[in-house]
Each structure stands twice: as C-alpha cells, then as structure tokens.
Amino acid sequence: MTPLTRDQIARRVARALPDGSFVNLGIGLPDLVPNHIPADREIILHSENGILHLGPRPPAGQEDWNLINAGKQPVTIRPGGSYFDSALSFAIMRGGHLDISVLGAFQVSGDGDLANWSTGAADDIPAVGGAMDLAVGAREIWVMMEHSSRQGQPRIVRRCTYPLTARAVVTRIFTNLAVLVRTEAGLVVEEIIPGLTLAALQQQTDAPLLAGTQAGRGLAPLEG
C-alpha cells in the first residue's frame, strides 16, 4: 500500500478536469496541477489577479514580473488569454462563472465546510486573500490535500476546528489515499489506493464514510 505523492495527487486531479472547463487553481498543492493536464484537453485556467488562460512558468531569464499568478510567481499567457482588473476577476469568481475551483485545505467537514485560510493560532498572521471568494463562487469546489495532518490528525472531520472559509461548499476531495465525493447521504469514497481497506481509511477519517458501492458507483482503485 503506497500513498500517492503530491505530484500523483495533482495528476489525479488534472485527469478529472473536464475538457473545456474554466478552472481556478488555489495556491499550495493545486500549483502542481498544470504540469499534469493532458495535452489533448483544453482547460482554461483563471488566476484571481486578473488573467484567464495562463500557461506555465517561462524559461529562466524570460520571466516578466508584470505577468504573475495568484502565488505571485511568473507565468505565461496562452493564445486566447485575457487580462482584466480585480473587480472583474472577482465577479468571474463570485458570479459563478468558473466551473471548478481547486483549493488546498487544512480541514474539510463531512458537510462540505472548508477551513483553509487560518490555523487560528494566536501568533498566526491572518491572511484570507481570495480564499473565501473562491470557495463561495465557483460552481464546484474541489479540495486536494494530504489525508492526515503532519501530526497524524484526520483532516476530513465531522466539524472543522480551524476557522471556516465557507460552509457546505466542498463537492469533491482528492487525498493521497482516496477520492471522495460529497452527496446528500454523506461522503462517498469513490476511489481508494490499492491495499487500503475502507475500514482502515475510516480509521484515518473523522467524518463517516460511505463506500462507493453503496451509492452504486463502485469503489475503484486510486491511481496517480
């Protein structure tokens, strides 16, 4: 039983993005997704600082520091791309014009509550950026994260203990152990890494899990 690497999680997310979709990638783990988007798929990436259809980082020496992404790193723009101001960029986000937002997270609850902007620690510098706007605005919110914290605590919980970003917004979770989908009935495990049982996954997950087979979807092996 081998958990997925960070790049394998990113590859799994990239494979799930539908052809023709407009997608915003959050900072952190989602930064890895563009490297894995299949070449035959047209995915239009949006970044909150006012750009649609961004491309990869340019070769060293060709960086343009007026052409950056939300992580403040140099990027490129693809044919058909556009620039716009922050108000329009957030209208695109808040107004439901993006198909999917892929975000990192500290915690996600079984009800789809998202905590990804603050640990709530006393010495933490609070910084929200566009996290709340994205979480509320995109039509689907996908989270990619390690299944457990560095301290071994479950990140998929009954109730978030970290400060909330938004309530009941997460639709899909990709971890190093499984792919989960939020349904009316609860969190359904759609894919799980080979060799890991649902019972063992549940032990590492605070929120109750349903097997995909119970929802008629079939529990599939998770491959990166």
Binding site: D85, F90, P126, A127, M132
Partner: protein, 228 residues
C-alpha cells in the same frame, strides 16, 4: 498639442503634493505587480505619519509598502493578504505581533468591490462571501432569495497611488498585463488619483479602445524615473 488640461507633473514631489498626515491611501498592486514604487518612495521620504493604507498585500520586504511600515508611518492596514514569504522577518509581522498596527482583514473580492462601490456612488452591497465565518462579525446578515448575505460598505480613499503603463496629458491610462489588478477600481475611489507610468505619450497616441482608465478619473501622472 495645445489645451488647458495637463495631468502630467515632472517631479515626484509634485505628484504627492497636498497629501497629509492621517490620509487614507489606496495603494495599487498585487504582489510585486502594479505597485507604484516611485510614489511609495516619495511618501516615505516625505515622512507622512498616521496613514491608513488599503493594499491587497502587506509588503514583501522589497522597497514597497514595507518601507512605510518599517518607518512607522502606517497606523492601520486594510488588506486581504498581509502575509508574505518574507513574513517571518517582515515589518508587518513584527508590528502586528507587537500590537503596533491595526489590521482590517477583508476578503480580496470584497476589498475591491467596496472600492468599486465607493467609486460608483453606491451605498454598499450584499455579498455571500464570509457568511458563517469569523470575518462576518459585526456585519448585518440579510437573507435574500433564500441565501444569506453580508452587508459591506464602500471604502473611499483620500488618495489613490497607481502604477500604469502609458498615459497622455488628459490622464488616460493603459496597463501592463497583470499589473492592472486594483488600479482601475482604485482610480474611481479616491479624491486624488496619482498614476506612475512607464511612458507619457502624445495625445491621440492611445487607442481609445485600449484605454482602461479614462482620464476623467486621474489627477496627476508622473513618469517612472522622474526627479524627486
């Protein structure tokens, strides 16, 4: 070309003339893109105090907002993302932990929309962003069409300091790529709007289709590298 309107000033001192202690300054930029570094330096040199600064970021340790913070010029920061990779040593972090600066943390889309409201003559707006979170504290919640929204109020500046690409003497502005970010909205939301530009061009040079900020919104234009 002749005409009575001329937004161009030749020195940074003229560009910031009249800005006083206690001013609320809307400062353009997202990360390192679109920050008017020459105007930032001029404000630092003028030694203005007690400033309220509206900026998406809190300074990166570069000669940006960080120098106002380090100089003790800022009383309050209204900001979405004050953290930076340099934050363990940045002035904002030190000041915040020492309780020497006030922070009003605002989601980025709400921050820009509050300025848009101010610039568009609107009294506020209802947003779903922040509902049920710590940032909803003290805000009116209203259910409209079955969904909860927070009331957010306009955010006006005394001054907006912007970075643009080209300008003409009427103050029309174009921008460069993602350096546009907050500039066009901040240009609507302050009593005095000052733009620092790469190039000043003759009237008629800018394609009207390419002008992003029309000159009616701009009071002064200074070219990068102008004398202090």
């Amino acid at each position: 070309m002749s005409g009575s309107i001329n937004r161009r000033v030749t020195r940074y001192a003229e560009a910031i003339a009249g800005i006083g202690d206690g001013a609320t300054i809307l400062l353009g930029g997202f990360g390192g893109a679109g920050v008017p570094l020459g105007l930032v330096a001029a404000i630092a040199e003028a030694g203005l105090r007690d400033l309220t600064v509206v900026s998406n970021n809190g300074g990166s340790g570069e000669p940006d907002l960080s120098i106002w913070l380090a100089g003790g010029q800022v009383r309050k920061l209204i900001c979405s993302y004050p953290k930076s990779k340099a934050s363990s040593t940045s002035s904002f972090t030190d000041l915040y932990r020492a309780g020497k600066i006030e922070l009003e943390l605002v989601p980025q889309g709400t921050l820009v929309e509050r300025m848009r409201c101010a610039g568009a003559g609107l009294g506020g707006f209802y947003t779903p962003v922040g509902v049920g979170t710590a940032l909803a504290q003290g805000k009116e919640v209203r259910n409209l069409g079955g969904r909860d929204y927070l009331l957010e109020l306009p955010l006006h500046g005394d001054v907006a300091l912007l970075r643009a690409h080209q300008a003409d003497r009427l103050g029309n502005l174009t921008y460069d790529k993602t350096a546009r970010n907050f500039g066009p909205v901040m240009a609507t939301a302050a009593a005095l709007v000052v733009a620092e530009v790469d190039a000043f061009v003759a009237l008629g040079t800018l394609d009207p289709e390419a002008v992003v900020t029309p000159g009616v919104l701009v009071d002064r234009v200074v070219t990068v590298g102008a004398p202090r």
